[in-house]
Symmetry: C2
Subunit: 200 residues, 2 copies
DNA sequence: TTGAATTATGACTTTTAAGTCATTATAATA
DNA sequence: TATTATAATGACTTAAAAGTCATAATTCAA
């Protein structure tokens, strides 16, 4: 595996662009090479195989998003406030990378294409994020901000899925433009439901 | 396209079993034929192509589930009660067909494999279900059972995703056994969150 | 400057599985 | 029973794309 970081990044970003354009299901190594302006063999100098390439596209994207969210969350004190900035930051990130996430979510890429090992890391990332949320909820239960009878890991997992499904809902309804108004609404609707439920 | 219903059903149920065993990504027409104990060419007498076969496996499964839920829901009057039986019935259905849904959810099959046309019908089914829920929520808003400031279509969509993600959560944590205790808990946790939120 | 080491190339091989169709078997009908 | 129509077969064709590797280009070190 060669060490040239610039070329590694070039292949990675070309793949990401391609995925936005044509989706995962049509992604081929030939197209990746063409998009990056290099030969197919070169791709294999930097990535073990196609699975490795996709896994790295997904994992670098996730780490970038997770770091960003963690930074913002750490600036808040109350658990309700932490959840608020978490949702806000997550939705913002999704909208800023909306064409990528549109493909991820609507194509439901997810783990189908990945081999066993990459499937596991996919689920591990999901778990790391929902565990992070679960800890906030646990603290909120201790502090009295949240109900005492919650199953915090499940609740954490549920919030992740609410965020995701809200974005899917918008993408399906063609609300893909990233205007602040829209983002503010989505964020509030998720938080409203998650914090207060639908009953009066 | 031949008319023999028994053979049609045989291929359909063999495919479903196979999907449970090996997942969508490894499903081949050769394996389907072998599982059904017939020749590959025969499969093509009853289904246009692989996409058609998968689409029919998914759509018949969905219709069965949706009918069952609608029947139960129609027996209730209050909107809260309707949502309660809806969630309960949906979770029950998922657990009764847990190996199928485990594959569907964890492999995240969804639409990846399907061609454009089938992708659309996949999203249409999802929409039919969330619209159905959305109508219940709208009635509940009118009757005063629910808050007035809800975005009912989005809320409907969110409930669908809460149900799905709860099942995924259990499957990921190996809680796949279908004991009534477990099902009761899951149902209650979903409803608790959706109706009341996490704050006190 | 030269030759060794590294990186890049893309035509080629391999694999896999979808879909076809000439042939055969079975069922229906007269 | 003979003839026609329908259903079934599976070897074969086709297609697509992953992955390889002998060769070429470039970079580096002496």
């Amino acid at each position: 595996m060669s060490e040239n970081t610039a070329k590694f990044e070039l292949i990675l970003s070309s793949s990401k662009k391609l995925i936005e354009e044509i989706g995962f299901s049509s992604l081929t190594m030939d197209k990746v090479a063409q998009k990056a302006g290099i030969a197919k063999g070169t791709v294999y100098l930097y990535f073990k195989d196609k699975d490795d390439l996709i896994e790295k596209v997904l994992s670098t994207g996730f780490e970038r998003m997770f770091d960003r969210i963690k930074r913002k969350v750490s600036e808040e004190n109350g658990m309700v406030d932490k959840l608020k900035v978490l949702v806000n930051e997550n939705i913002n990130h999704i909208y800023e990378n909306r064409y990528f996430f549109k493909t991820i979510f609507l194509d439901e890429v997810n783990v189908v294409f990945l081999k066993k090992k990459s499937k596991e890391s996919f689920n591990l990332r999901r778990k790391r994020y929902s565990d992070f949320i679960s800890e906030i909820i646990k603290s909120g239960m201790k502090s009295g901000e949240f109900r005492q009878d919650l199953n915090s890991p499940r609740a954490g997992y549920m919030l992740v899925s609410l965020i995701k499904s809200s974005a899917i809902y918008d993408f399906l309804n063609e609300k893909i433009e990233s205007n602040p108004e829209n983002i503010k609404n989505v964020t509030e609707e998720i938080l409203n439901l998650f914090l207060r439920g639908i009953t009066r």
